[in-house]
Protein backbone atom coordinates (compact mmCIF):
# COMPACT_ATOMS: atom_id res chain seq x y z
CA UNK A 1 0.00 0.00 0.00
CA UNK A 2 1.33 3.36 -0.93
CA UNK A 3 1.03 6.20 1.49
CA UNK A 4 1.44 9.66 0.09
CA UNK A 5 1.23 12.94 1.83
CA UNK A 6 0.66 16.06 -0.18
CA UNK A 7 0.40 19.57 1.07
CA UNK A 8 -1.62 22.39 -0.27
CA UNK A 9 0.00 25.33 1.44
CA UNK A 10 -1.92 28.46 2.06
CA UNK A 11 -0.19 31.80 1.64
CA UNK A 12 -1.12 33.14 5.05
CA UNK A 13 1.92 32.79 7.37
CA UNK A 14 -0.20 32.56 10.52
CA UNK A 15 -2.69 30.07 9.16
CA UNK A 16 -4.63 27.72 11.42
CA UNK A 17 -3.51 24.19 12.13
CA UNK A 18 -3.69 22.11 8.92
CA UNK A 19 -6.89 20.33 8.03
CA UNK A 20 -6.23 16.74 7.11
CA UNK A 21 -8.08 15.04 4.28
CA UNK A 22 -7.61 11.33 3.82
CA UNK A 23 -8.22 9.99 0.32
CA UNK A 24 -8.80 6.36 -0.66
CA UNK A 25 -8.16 5.81 -4.35
CA UNK A 26 -8.28 2.20 -5.47
CA UNK A 27 -5.20 1.04 -7.36
CA UNK A 28 -3.78 2.98 -10.26
CA UNK A 29 -7.00 3.52 -12.17
CA UNK A 30 -6.79 6.46 -14.63
CA UNK A 31 -10.47 7.25 -14.08
CA UNK A 32 -9.98 7.75 -10.34
CA UNK A 33 -6.75 9.67 -10.98
CA UNK A 34 -8.68 12.09 -13.17
CA UNK A 35 -11.31 12.60 -10.45
CA UNK A 36 -8.58 13.12 -7.86
CA UNK A 37 -6.67 15.64 -9.97
CA UNK A 38 -9.75 17.79 -10.47
CA UNK A 39 -10.61 17.39 -6.77
CA UNK A 40 -7.18 18.72 -5.75
CA UNK A 41 -7.29 21.55 -8.28
CA UNK A 42 -10.72 22.69 -7.11
CA UNK A 43 -9.80 22.37 -3.44
CA UNK A 44 -6.70 24.49 -4.08
CA UNK A 45 -8.89 27.10 -5.71
CA UNK A 46 -11.40 27.04 -2.83
CA UNK A 47 -8.85 27.37 -0.07
CA UNK A 48 -6.38 29.56 -1.93
CA UNK A 49 -4.38 31.42 0.70
CA UNK A 50 -6.81 30.82 3.54
CA UNK A 51 -6.22 27.35 4.87
CA UNK A 52 -3.46 24.77 5.02
CA UNK A 53 -4.73 21.41 3.80
CA UNK A 54 -2.88 18.15 4.17
CA UNK A 55 -3.86 15.36 1.82
CA UNK A 56 -3.11 11.80 2.90
CA UNK A 57 -3.51 9.56 -0.12
CA UNK A 58 -4.08 5.82 0.21
CA UNK A 59 -3.92 3.61 -2.89
CA UNK A 60 -5.12 0.19 -1.74
CA UNK A 61 -5.05 -2.79 -4.07
CA UNK A 62 -8.63 -3.68 -5.00
CA UNK A 63 -9.54 -6.23 -2.37
CA UNK A 64 -11.70 -6.02 0.76
CA UNK A 65 -8.81 -6.29 3.24
CA UNK A 66 -6.82 -3.52 1.58
CA UNK A 67 -9.84 -1.23 1.38
CA UNK A 68 -10.59 -1.84 5.02
CA UNK A 69 -6.96 -1.26 6.07
CA UNK A 70 -6.84 1.99 4.12
CA UNK A 71 -9.97 3.25 5.88
CA UNK A 72 -8.65 2.23 9.30
CA UNK A 73 -5.33 3.97 8.67
CA UNK A 74 -7.05 7.22 7.83
CA UNK A 75 -9.19 6.94 10.96
CA UNK A 76 -6.01 6.35 12.97
CA UNK A 77 -4.50 9.46 11.41
CA UNK A 78 -7.50 11.36 12.77
CA UNK A 79 -8.19 13.05 9.48
CA UNK A 80 -10.91 15.71 9.35
CA UNK A 81 -12.51 14.20 6.27
CA UNK A 82 -12.28 10.99 4.25
CA UNK A 83 -12.68 11.18 0.49
CA UNK A 84 -13.27 7.92 -1.38
CA UNK A 85 -13.37 7.06 -5.05
CA UNK A 86 -15.49 4.12 -6.11
CA UNK A 87 -18.09 1.98 -4.38
CA UNK A 88 -15.92 -0.55 -2.44
CA UNK A 89 -13.63 2.08 -0.92
CA UNK A 90 -16.69 4.06 0.19
CA UNK A 91 -18.37 1.01 1.68
CA UNK A 92 -15.16 0.14 3.56
CA UNK A 93 -14.96 3.65 5.04
CA UNK A 94 -18.63 3.63 6.06
CA UNK A 95 -18.30 0.13 7.54
CA UNK A 96 -15.76 1.41 10.09
CA UNK A 97 -18.49 3.58 11.65
CA UNK A 98 -16.15 6.39 12.62
CA UNK A 99 -17.49 9.91 13.16
CA UNK A 100 -15.27 11.27 10.43
CA UNK A 101 -17.34 12.69 7.58
CA UNK A 102 -17.02 10.99 4.20
CA UNK A 103 -17.29 12.46 0.70
CA UNK A 104 -17.39 9.97 -2.14
CA UNK A 105 -17.15 10.16 -5.93
CA UNK A 106 -16.98 7.75 -8.84
CA UNK A 107 -19.88 5.54 -7.70
CA UNK A 108 -22.34 4.23 -10.27
CA UNK A 109 -25.88 5.42 -9.42
CA UNK A 110 -25.02 6.44 -5.84
CA UNK A 111 -28.70 6.62 -4.84
CA UNK A 112 -28.89 2.86 -5.39
CA UNK A 113 -25.57 2.06 -3.68
CA UNK A 114 -25.31 0.82 -0.07
CA UNK A 115 -23.46 3.97 0.98
CA UNK A 116 -26.21 5.66 2.95
CA UNK A 117 -24.91 7.11 6.19
CA UNK A 118 -25.46 10.26 8.24
CA UNK A 119 -21.75 10.93 7.87
CA UNK A 120 -21.50 10.42 4.12
CA UNK A 121 -22.45 12.30 1.02
CA UNK A 122 -21.02 12.54 -2.44
CA UNK A 123 -21.57 12.21 -6.12
CA UNK A 124 -21.47 9.59 -8.80
CA UNK A 125 -22.55 8.93 -12.33
CA UNK A 126 -24.96 7.01 -14.47
CA UNK A 127 -24.49 5.92 -18.05
CA UNK A 128 -27.43 4.53 -20.04
CA UNK A 129 -26.25 0.96 -20.61
CA UNK A 130 -28.96 0.44 -23.22
CA UNK A 131 -27.00 2.78 -25.51
CA UNK A 132 -24.01 0.42 -25.42
CA UNK A 133 -26.23 -2.43 -26.53
CA UNK A 134 -27.83 -0.26 -29.21
CA UNK A 135 -24.47 0.77 -30.69
CA UNK A 136 -23.15 -2.80 -30.60
CA UNK A 137 -26.21 -3.94 -32.54
CA UNK A 138 -25.64 -1.25 -35.14
CA UNK A 139 -22.11 -2.58 -35.60
CA UNK A 140 -22.68 -6.32 -35.79
CA UNK A 141 -25.08 -9.11 -34.99
CA UNK A 142 -25.06 -9.77 -31.28
CA UNK A 143 -26.38 -13.13 -30.12
CA UNK A 144 -24.15 -13.52 -27.08
CA UNK A 145 -22.51 -10.85 -25.00
CA UNK A 146 -19.92 -11.24 -22.28
CA UNK A 147 -20.14 -8.94 -19.23
CA UNK A 148 -17.00 -8.34 -17.20
CA UNK A 149 -17.72 -7.27 -13.65
CA UNK A 150 -16.45 -7.97 -10.16
CA UNK A 151 -18.64 -9.51 -7.48
CA UNK A 152 -16.61 -7.70 -4.81
CA UNK A 153 -17.53 -4.30 -6.32
CA UNK A 154 -21.21 -3.75 -5.59
CA UNK A 155 -21.91 -1.17 -8.28
CA UNK A 156 -20.48 -3.39 -10.99
CA UNK A 157 -22.89 -6.14 -9.92
CA UNK A 158 -25.74 -3.68 -10.44
CA UNK A 159 -24.35 -2.80 -13.87
CA UNK A 160 -24.16 -6.50 -14.69
CA UNK A 161 -27.80 -7.00 -13.65
CA UNK A 162 -29.01 -3.98 -15.60
CA UNK A 163 -27.23 -5.09 -18.76
CA UNK A 164 -28.46 -8.65 -18.28
CA UNK A 165 -32.08 -7.41 -18.17
CA UNK A 166 -31.59 -5.22 -21.23
CA UNK A 167 -30.01 -8.07 -23.16
CA UNK A 168 -32.80 -10.47 -22.16
CA UNK A 169 -35.37 -8.08 -23.65
CA UNK A 170 -33.54 -8.40 -26.95
CA UNK A 171 -33.00 -12.16 -26.74
CA UNK A 172 -29.25 -11.75 -26.30
CA UNK A 173 -27.55 -14.41 -24.23
CA UNK A 174 -25.19 -13.29 -21.49
CA UNK A 175 -21.84 -14.72 -20.42
CA UNK A 176 -20.95 -13.74 -16.87
CA UNK A 177 -17.25 -12.96 -16.37
CA UNK A 178 -16.49 -12.29 -12.71
CA UNK A 179 -13.02 -10.83 -12.10
CA UNK A 180 -11.86 -11.09 -8.48
CA UNK A 181 -8.17 -11.78 -8.95
CA UNK A 182 -5.52 -11.80 -11.71
CA UNK A 183 -6.18 -15.53 -12.20
CA UNK A 184 -9.72 -14.75 -13.35
CA UNK A 185 -8.32 -13.01 -16.45
CA UNK A 186 -7.65 -16.52 -17.79
CA UNK A 187 -11.42 -16.92 -18.20
CA UNK A 188 -11.19 -14.49 -21.10
CA UNK A 189 -9.19 -16.91 -23.24
CA UNK A 190 -12.41 -18.66 -24.30
CA UNK A 191 -15.23 -16.16 -24.07
CA UNK A 192 -17.21 -17.23 -27.15
CA UNK A 193 -19.17 -13.99 -27.30
CA UNK A 194 -19.97 -11.58 -30.12
CA UNK A 195 -19.06 -8.63 -27.91
CA UNK A 196 -17.97 -7.84 -24.38
CA UNK A 197 -19.27 -5.14 -22.07
CA UNK A 198 -16.82 -3.96 -19.45
CA UNK A 199 -18.44 -2.54 -16.30
CA UNK A 200 -16.73 0.14 -14.23
CA UNK A 201 -14.86 -2.49 -12.19
CA UNK A 202 -11.60 -1.13 -10.79
CA UNK A 203 -10.16 -4.66 -10.76
CA UNK A 204 -10.89 -5.17 -14.43
CA UNK A 205 -9.46 -1.75 -15.28
CA UNK A 206 -6.31 -2.54 -13.40
CA UNK A 207 -5.65 -5.24 -16.00
CA UNK A 208 -7.36 -3.55 -18.94
CA UNK A 209 -4.50 -4.05 -21.39
CA UNK A 210 -4.34 -7.81 -20.66
CA UNK A 211 -8.11 -8.09 -21.07
CA UNK A 212 -8.09 -6.26 -24.40
CA UNK A 213 -5.18 -8.38 -25.67
CA UNK A 214 -7.00 -11.62 -24.89
CA UNK A 215 -10.24 -10.43 -26.48
CA UNK A 216 -8.42 -9.01 -29.53
CA UNK A 217 -7.00 -12.49 -30.12
CA UNK A 218 -10.58 -13.69 -30.55
CA UNK A 219 -11.66 -10.56 -32.52
CA UNK A 220 -14.18 -9.64 -29.82
CA UNK A 221 -15.04 -5.93 -29.58
CA UNK A 222 -15.23 -4.30 -26.15
CA UNK A 223 -17.39 -1.46 -24.87
CA UNK A 224 -16.61 0.30 -21.63
CA UNK A 225 -18.26 2.87 -19.36
CA UNK A 226 -14.96 4.27 -18.10
CA UNK A 227 -12.79 6.27 -20.50
CA UNK A 228 -9.97 4.38 -22.21
CA UNK A 229 -7.46 7.05 -21.23
CA UNK A 230 -4.43 4.94 -22.18
CA UNK A 231 -6.12 3.95 -25.48
CA UNK A 232 -5.65 0.28 -24.65
CA UNK A 233 -8.01 -0.69 -27.47
CA UNK A 234 -11.60 -0.40 -26.24
CA UNK A 235 -13.79 -0.17 -29.35
CA UNK A 236 -16.33 2.20 -27.85
CA UNK A 237 -16.65 4.02 -24.59
CA UNK A 238 -19.68 5.82 -23.26
CA UNK A 239 -18.58 7.53 -20.09
CA UNK A 240 -19.28 10.40 -17.78
CA UNK A 241 -16.39 12.92 -17.87
CA UNK A 242 -14.87 12.51 -14.43
CA UNK A 243 -13.54 16.04 -13.86
CA UNK A 244 -16.98 17.30 -12.84
CA UNK A 245 -17.15 14.69 -10.08
CA UNK A 246 -13.81 15.86 -8.69
CA UNK A 247 -14.99 19.46 -8.69
CA UNK A 248 -18.24 18.57 -6.92
CA UNK A 249 -16.44 16.39 -4.35
CA UNK A 250 -14.14 19.35 -3.60
CA UNK A 251 -17.16 21.64 -3.19
CA UNK A 252 -18.72 19.15 -0.76
CA UNK A 253 -15.42 18.72 1.10
CA UNK A 254 -15.07 22.48 1.39
CA UNK A 255 -18.57 22.87 2.82
CA UNK A 256 -18.00 20.07 5.33
CA UNK A 257 -14.65 21.49 6.46
CA UNK A 258 -16.42 24.81 7.00
CA UNK A 259 -18.96 23.13 9.28
CA UNK A 260 -21.82 21.79 7.12
CA UNK A 261 -22.95 18.29 8.05
CA UNK A 262 -22.80 15.65 5.27
CA UNK A 263 -26.49 14.91 5.82
CA UNK A 264 -27.18 18.51 4.80
CA UNK A 265 -25.58 18.02 1.37
CA UNK A 266 -27.60 16.19 -1.25
CA UNK A 267 -26.11 13.26 -3.15
CA UNK A 268 -25.69 14.07 -6.85
CA UNK A 269 -25.64 11.85 -9.94
CA UNK A 270 -23.98 13.13 -13.09
CA UNK A 271 -25.67 11.91 -16.25
CA UNK A 272 -23.80 13.79 -18.96
CA UNK A 273 -21.77 11.49 -21.20
CA UNK A 274 -19.24 11.39 -23.97
CA UNK A 275 -19.12 8.76 -26.68
CA UNK A 276 -15.77 7.69 -28.14
CA UNK A 277 -15.23 5.29 -31.02
CA UNK A 278 -11.83 3.76 -31.68
CA UNK A 279 -11.46 3.40 -35.45
CA UNK A 280 -7.95 1.98 -35.15
CA UNK A 281 -9.30 -0.85 -32.98
CA UNK A 282 -12.22 -1.35 -35.38
CA UNK A 283 -9.70 -1.89 -38.16
CA UNK A 284 -7.88 -4.49 -36.05
CA UNK A 285 -11.15 -6.31 -35.48
CA UNK A 286 -12.28 -6.03 -39.09
CA UNK A 287 -15.28 -3.89 -38.15
CA UNK A 288 -16.49 -0.94 -40.21
CA UNK A 289 -18.13 1.92 -38.42
CA UNK A 290 -21.06 3.11 -40.57
CA UNK A 291 -21.01 6.85 -41.15
CA UNK A 292 -24.41 7.16 -39.41
CA UNK A 293 -22.76 5.79 -36.29
CA UNK A 294 -19.55 7.80 -36.50
CA UNK A 295 -21.46 11.08 -36.53
CA UNK A 296 -22.79 10.28 -33.06
CA UNK A 297 -19.30 10.22 -31.52
CA UNK A 298 -18.02 12.98 -29.31
CA UNK A 299 -14.51 11.88 -30.28
CA UNK A 300 -13.02 9.37 -32.69
CA UNK A 301 -9.66 7.70 -32.15
CA UNK A 302 -8.16 7.33 -35.63
Amino acid sequence: MLLCTLFILGAAPDSHAAKKIGVIMTGDIPYYNAIHNSFIAELNRKFAGTEKIEIILQRPFPNPISWSNAARKLIAFEVDLIVTYGSPATEAAIFEKSRIPIVYAGIYEPEQAPVKSRNATGCGFKVPLSSILRYFKRLKTIDTMGIIFSSIEEDTVRQYETMQNLAAQQNIKIKKIDIRSPNDIEKLKTVNSDAVFLTGSSLAHLWLEDIIRLLDNQSIPVADILPDISEAGVLMTLYQPSASQGVMAAEMAWQILLGTKPSGIAVYTFRDTELVFNKAEAKNLGINFPIQLLIEATRIIE
Binding site: K126, P128, S130, S131, R134, Q170, R271, T273, I295, E296
Partner: protein
Protein backbone atom coordinates in the same frame (compact mmCIF):
# COMPACT_ATOMS: atom_id res chain seq x y z
CA UNK B 1 -25.83 55.20 -104.82
CA UNK B 2 -29.53 55.18 -104.97
CA UNK B 3 -31.31 52.31 -103.41
CA UNK B 4 -34.13 50.83 -105.34
CA UNK B 5 -36.32 47.98 -104.23
CA UNK B 6 -38.85 45.76 -105.72
CA UNK B 7 -42.36 45.52 -104.19
CA UNK B 8 -41.80 41.90 -102.93
CA UNK B 9 -38.53 42.74 -101.17
CA UNK B 10 -40.20 45.75 -99.56
CA UNK B 11 -42.97 43.46 -98.27
CA UNK B 12 -40.41 41.07 -96.85
CA UNK B 13 -38.61 43.94 -95.09
CA UNK B 14 -41.91 45.15 -93.53
CA UNK B 15 -42.73 41.65 -92.40
CA UNK B 16 -39.37 41.26 -90.64
CA UNK B 17 -39.72 44.63 -88.91
CA UNK B 18 -43.27 43.73 -87.84
CA UNK B 19 -42.13 40.44 -86.35
CA UNK B 20 -39.22 42.07 -84.52
CA UNK B 21 -41.56 44.64 -83.01
CA UNK B 22 -43.94 41.89 -81.93
CA UNK B 23 -41.23 39.86 -80.14
CA UNK B 24 -39.58 42.85 -78.48
CA UNK B 25 -42.88 44.36 -77.28
CA UNK B 26 -44.24 41.18 -75.68
CA UNK B 27 -41.49 39.10 -73.99
CA UNK B 28 -42.59 35.51 -73.40
CA UNK B 29 -41.15 33.35 -70.56
CA UNK B 30 -38.44 31.11 -71.91
CA UNK B 31 -39.94 28.07 -70.20
CA UNK B 32 -43.23 28.59 -71.98
CA UNK B 33 -41.61 29.31 -75.25
CA UNK B 34 -39.22 26.42 -75.27
CA UNK B 35 -40.10 22.86 -74.42
CA UNK B 36 -38.68 22.19 -70.91
CA UNK B 37 -36.20 19.33 -71.34
CA UNK B 38 -35.40 18.67 -67.70
CA UNK B 39 -36.42 19.61 -64.22
CA UNK B 40 -33.84 19.80 -61.43
CA UNK B 41 -35.26 19.08 -57.99
CA UNK B 42 -33.44 19.51 -54.68
CA UNK B 43 -33.81 17.04 -51.84
CA UNK B 44 -33.19 17.95 -48.23
CA UNK B 45 -30.86 15.45 -46.54
CA UNK B 46 -32.21 13.01 -43.94
CA UNK B 47 -30.27 10.78 -41.55
CA UNK B 48 -29.22 8.29 -44.23
CA UNK B 49 -28.85 10.15 -47.50
CA UNK B 50 -27.92 6.97 -49.38
CA UNK B 51 -31.27 5.32 -48.58
CA UNK B 52 -33.01 8.61 -49.18
CA UNK B 53 -31.53 9.17 -52.64
CA UNK B 54 -32.37 5.60 -53.59
CA UNK B 55 -36.01 6.23 -52.69
CA UNK B 56 -36.15 9.48 -54.59
CA UNK B 57 -34.40 7.96 -57.60
CA UNK B 58 -37.38 5.63 -58.17
CA UNK B 59 -39.77 8.56 -57.99
CA UNK B 60 -37.68 10.71 -60.36
CA UNK B 61 -37.53 7.90 -62.88
CA UNK B 62 -41.31 7.42 -62.78
CA UNK B 63 -41.99 11.14 -63.18
CA UNK B 64 -39.53 11.35 -66.08
CA UNK B 65 -41.40 8.58 -67.90
CA UNK B 66 -44.82 10.03 -67.24
CA UNK B 67 -44.00 13.64 -68.08
CA UNK B 68 -41.56 13.10 -70.91
CA UNK B 69 -39.26 15.51 -69.11
CA UNK B 70 -36.06 14.36 -67.45
CA UNK B 71 -36.35 14.77 -63.69
CA UNK B 72 -32.92 15.22 -62.09
CA UNK B 73 -32.22 15.24 -58.38
CA UNK B 74 -29.60 16.97 -56.32
CA UNK B 75 -29.08 16.61 -52.60
CA UNK B 76 -28.78 19.84 -50.68
CA UNK B 77 -25.71 19.56 -48.52
CA UNK B 78 -27.56 20.59 -45.36
CA UNK B 79 -30.82 21.96 -44.06
CA UNK B 80 -31.55 25.59 -44.66
CA UNK B 81 -29.73 25.93 -47.97
CA UNK B 82 -32.93 26.19 -49.95
CA UNK B 83 -32.79 29.87 -50.75
CA UNK B 84 -29.08 29.84 -51.57
CA UNK B 85 -29.24 26.60 -53.55
CA UNK B 86 -32.20 27.68 -55.62
CA UNK B 87 -30.20 30.60 -56.86
CA UNK B 88 -26.81 28.95 -57.31
CA UNK B 89 -28.00 25.62 -58.70
CA UNK B 90 -30.95 27.07 -60.59
CA UNK B 91 -33.27 24.52 -59.09
CA UNK B 92 -36.75 24.16 -60.53
CA UNK B 93 -38.16 22.82 -57.30
CA UNK B 94 -37.42 20.86 -54.17
CA UNK B 95 -38.83 18.38 -51.71
CA UNK B 96 -38.76 20.49 -48.59
CA UNK B 97 -39.44 19.97 -44.92
CA UNK B 98 -41.95 22.25 -43.26
CA UNK B 99 -39.80 25.17 -42.17
CA UNK B 100 -37.71 25.38 -45.32
CA UNK B 101 -40.88 25.06 -47.41
CA UNK B 102 -42.33 28.02 -45.51
CA UNK B 103 -39.21 30.07 -46.23
CA UNK B 104 -39.13 29.02 -49.88
CA UNK B 105 -42.81 29.79 -50.45
CA UNK B 106 -42.41 33.21 -48.88
CA UNK B 107 -39.02 34.25 -50.23
CA UNK B 108 -38.84 32.40 -53.55
CA UNK B 109 -42.58 32.39 -54.24
CA UNK B 110 -42.49 28.66 -54.90
CA UNK B 111 -45.75 26.85 -55.35
CA UNK B 112 -46.47 23.92 -52.98
CA UNK B 113 -47.62 21.07 -55.21
CA UNK B 114 -47.96 17.84 -53.24
CA UNK B 115 -47.17 16.10 -49.97
CA UNK B 116 -46.29 12.41 -49.71
CA UNK B 117 -48.44 10.39 -47.32
CA UNK B 118 -46.19 8.08 -45.32
CA UNK B 119 -46.81 4.38 -44.68
CA UNK B 120 -48.59 5.23 -41.43
CA UNK B 121 -51.11 7.27 -43.44
CA UNK B 122 -49.77 10.65 -42.37
CA UNK B 123 -48.68 13.54 -44.56
CA UNK B 124 -47.92 15.69 -41.55
CA UNK B 125 -45.33 15.69 -38.82
CA UNK B 126 -44.93 17.42 -35.50
CA UNK B 127 -42.11 18.31 -33.17
CA UNK B 128 -41.49 16.48 -29.92
CA UNK B 129 -39.52 17.76 -26.96
CA UNK B 130 -38.24 14.79 -25.00
CA UNK B 131 -36.01 13.82 -22.09
CA UNK B 132 -34.83 10.62 -20.51
CA UNK B 133 -37.44 9.28 -18.09
CA UNK B 134 -34.80 8.98 -15.37
CA UNK B 135 -33.58 12.55 -15.87
CA UNK B 136 -35.94 14.09 -13.35
CA UNK B 137 -37.00 16.68 -15.95
CA UNK B 138 -40.77 16.98 -16.10
CA UNK B 139 -41.25 20.46 -17.51
CA UNK B 140 -39.64 23.71 -18.49
CA UNK B 141 -38.52 24.68 -14.97
CA UNK B 142 -36.46 21.48 -14.60
CA UNK B 143 -34.68 22.21 -17.89
CA UNK B 144 -32.83 25.23 -16.49
CA UNK B 145 -29.06 24.78 -16.57
CA UNK B 146 -29.26 21.61 -18.68
CA UNK B 147 -27.87 20.79 -22.10
CA UNK B 148 -30.29 20.83 -25.02
CA UNK B 149 -29.79 19.38 -28.48
CA UNK B 150 -31.57 20.84 -31.48
CA UNK B 151 -31.57 19.36 -34.99
CA UNK B 152 -30.82 22.30 -37.24
CA UNK B 153 -31.79 25.98 -37.23
CA UNK B 154 -33.82 25.36 -40.41
CA UNK B 155 -36.19 22.82 -38.86
CA UNK B 156 -39.56 23.50 -37.28
CA UNK B 157 -39.63 20.29 -35.26
CA UNK B 158 -36.00 20.43 -34.20
CA UNK B 159 -35.51 24.12 -33.47
CA UNK B 160 -38.34 26.55 -34.08
CA UNK B 161 -40.87 24.61 -32.01
CA UNK B 162 -38.68 24.13 -28.89
CA UNK B 163 -37.84 27.82 -29.01
CA UNK B 164 -41.55 28.66 -29.25
CA UNK B 165 -42.26 26.32 -26.34
CA UNK B 166 -39.60 27.99 -24.22
CA UNK B 167 -40.79 31.46 -25.16
CA UNK B 168 -44.30 30.51 -24.09
CA UNK B 169 -42.85 29.97 -20.60
CA UNK B 170 -40.92 33.22 -20.65
CA UNK B 171 -37.51 31.91 -21.71
CA UNK B 172 -36.26 34.44 -24.19
CA UNK B 173 -32.53 33.77 -24.10
CA UNK B 174 -31.38 30.18 -24.45
CA UNK B 175 -27.77 31.28 -23.87
CA UNK B 176 -28.69 32.20 -20.32
CA UNK B 177 -31.27 29.50 -19.63
CA UNK B 178 -29.25 26.46 -20.72
CA UNK B 179 -25.75 25.41 -19.79
CA UNK B 180 -25.14 24.47 -23.41
CA UNK B 181 -26.99 23.90 -26.64
CA UNK B 182 -25.90 22.36 -29.91
CA UNK B 183 -27.20 21.13 -33.25
CA UNK B 184 -27.01 17.41 -34.00
CA UNK B 185 -27.62 17.73 -37.75
CA UNK B 186 -30.31 15.04 -37.89
CA UNK B 187 -33.45 14.07 -36.00
CA UNK B 188 -32.10 10.59 -35.24
CA UNK B 189 -28.87 12.02 -33.85
CA UNK B 190 -30.82 14.32 -31.54
CA UNK B 191 -32.70 11.28 -30.22
CA UNK B 192 -29.50 9.25 -29.74
CA UNK B 193 -27.89 12.21 -27.96
CA UNK B 194 -30.61 12.25 -25.30
CA UNK B 195 -30.68 8.45 -25.04
CA UNK B 196 -26.93 8.41 -24.37
CA UNK B 197 -26.97 11.32 -21.94
CA UNK B 198 -24.95 13.52 -24.25
CA UNK B 199 -27.83 15.99 -23.93
CA UNK B 200 -30.52 16.33 -21.25
CA UNK B 201 -33.26 17.63 -23.51
CA UNK B 202 -33.86 17.04 -27.20
CA UNK B 203 -36.25 18.00 -29.92
CA UNK B 204 -36.98 16.08 -33.09
CA UNK B 205 -39.62 15.11 -35.60
CA UNK B 206 -42.29 12.66 -34.46
CA UNK B 207 -42.07 10.50 -37.58
CA UNK B 208 -38.39 9.76 -36.96
CA UNK B 209 -38.98 9.34 -33.23
CA UNK B 210 -41.93 6.97 -33.72
CA UNK B 211 -40.08 4.92 -36.33
CA UNK B 212 -37.09 4.51 -34.02
CA UNK B 213 -39.39 3.40 -31.19
CA UNK B 214 -41.07 0.95 -33.54
CA UNK B 215 -37.70 -0.52 -34.51
CA UNK B 216 -36.43 -0.58 -30.93
CA UNK B 217 -39.17 -0.40 -28.26
CA UNK B 218 -36.57 0.15 -25.52
CA UNK B 219 -36.22 3.70 -26.82
CA UNK B 220 -39.87 4.37 -25.99
CA UNK B 221 -39.32 2.95 -22.52
CA UNK B 222 -36.43 5.29 -21.86
CA UNK B 223 -37.65 8.59 -23.30
CA UNK B 224 -40.52 10.78 -22.22
CA UNK B 225 -42.21 13.28 -24.54
CA UNK B 226 -42.97 16.45 -22.63
CA UNK B 227 -44.34 18.67 -25.42
CA UNK B 228 -45.73 18.33 -28.93
CA UNK B 229 -46.03 20.96 -31.66
CA UNK B 230 -48.99 21.46 -34.02
CA UNK B 231 -48.98 19.17 -37.06
CA UNK B 232 -47.58 20.58 -40.30
CA UNK B 233 -46.85 19.10 -43.74
CA UNK B 234 -43.80 16.87 -43.29
CA UNK B 235 -42.42 17.07 -46.83
CA UNK B 236 -43.74 19.24 -49.63
CA UNK B 237 -42.76 19.34 -53.27
CA UNK B 238 -42.46 23.04 -54.03
CA UNK B 239 -42.04 24.17 -57.65
CA UNK B 240 -40.78 27.38 -59.15
CA UNK B 241 -43.44 29.45 -60.89
CA UNK B 242 -40.94 29.88 -63.76
CA UNK B 243 -41.95 26.36 -64.78
CA UNK B 244 -44.76 26.48 -67.33
CA UNK B 245 -48.22 26.25 -65.70
CA UNK B 246 -49.22 23.27 -67.85
CA UNK B 247 -46.11 21.35 -66.83
CA UNK B 248 -46.67 22.21 -63.18
CA UNK B 249 -50.23 20.92 -63.50
CA UNK B 250 -49.11 17.73 -65.22
CA UNK B 251 -46.49 17.18 -62.51
CA UNK B 252 -49.08 17.71 -59.79
CA UNK B 253 -51.65 15.44 -61.49
CA UNK B 254 -49.06 12.71 -62.01
CA UNK B 255 -48.13 12.71 -58.33
CA UNK B 256 -51.72 12.89 -57.08
CA UNK B 257 -52.77 9.98 -59.29
CA UNK B 258 -49.80 7.72 -58.69
CA UNK B 259 -51.74 5.43 -56.39
CA UNK B 260 -54.33 4.83 -59.11
CA UNK B 261 -52.12 2.80 -61.44
CA UNK B 262 -49.95 -0.25 -60.93
CA UNK B 263 -46.66 1.34 -62.02
CA UNK B 264 -47.30 4.29 -59.71
CA UNK B 265 -48.19 2.02 -56.79
CA UNK B 266 -44.95 0.10 -57.21
CA UNK B 267 -42.92 3.30 -57.17
CA UNK B 268 -44.83 4.56 -54.13
CA UNK B 269 -43.91 1.36 -52.37
CA UNK B 270 -40.24 1.92 -53.20
CA UNK B 271 -40.59 5.56 -52.15
CA UNK B 272 -42.13 4.35 -48.87
CA UNK B 273 -45.36 6.32 -49.28
CA UNK B 274 -49.02 5.41 -49.70
CA UNK B 275 -49.86 8.27 -52.06
CA UNK B 276 -49.40 11.99 -52.62
CA UNK B 277 -51.90 14.53 -51.42
CA UNK B 278 -52.49 18.08 -52.66
CA UNK B 279 -50.48 20.74 -50.85
CA UNK B 280 -51.71 24.21 -49.98
CA UNK B 281 -50.06 27.37 -48.75
CA UNK B 282 -52.39 27.78 -45.76
CA UNK B 283 -50.82 24.77 -44.03
CA UNK B 284 -47.64 26.78 -43.53
CA UNK B 285 -49.22 29.78 -41.82
CA UNK B 286 -48.68 28.26 -38.35
CA UNK B 287 -44.93 27.99 -39.01
CA UNK B 288 -44.74 31.53 -40.29
CA UNK B 289 -46.41 32.80 -37.13
CA UNK B 290 -44.09 30.66 -34.99
CA UNK B 291 -41.02 32.03 -36.77
CA UNK B 292 -42.21 35.59 -36.37
CA UNK B 293 -42.85 35.11 -32.64
CA UNK B 294 -39.63 33.26 -31.92
CA UNK B 295 -36.99 34.77 -34.13
CA UNK B 296 -38.14 38.28 -33.39
CA UNK B 297 -37.72 37.91 -29.68
CA UNK B 298 -35.10 35.28 -28.97
CA UNK B 299 -31.36 35.54 -28.77
CA UNK B 300 -30.33 32.34 -30.43
CA UNK B 301 -26.67 32.63 -31.22
CA UNK B 302 -23.52 33.43 -29.40
CA UNK B 303 -22.63 30.51 -27.13
Amino acid sequence: MKFSSRPESRFLRYLIIFLLICFSAAPIPVSAFQQQKEILLGVEPEHNIFDQMERYRFLASYLSDQLGVKIKLTIMSRYGEVIKRFKTLRLDGAFLTSYTATMAIKQLHLEPIANPVNLAGESTSQGYIFVRKDSGIRGMIDMKGGNIVFVDPATMEGYLFPLAYLLQYGVNDINVFFNQYYFSGSHASAIYSVLDGRADIGSAKNTVFDQMVKNDPSIGNELEIIAKSPKVPEVTLCISTAIAPDLRKRLSDTLLNMDKNEAGKKVLQQFKALRFTKANKESFAVIERMAQDVLGSLTVHGK
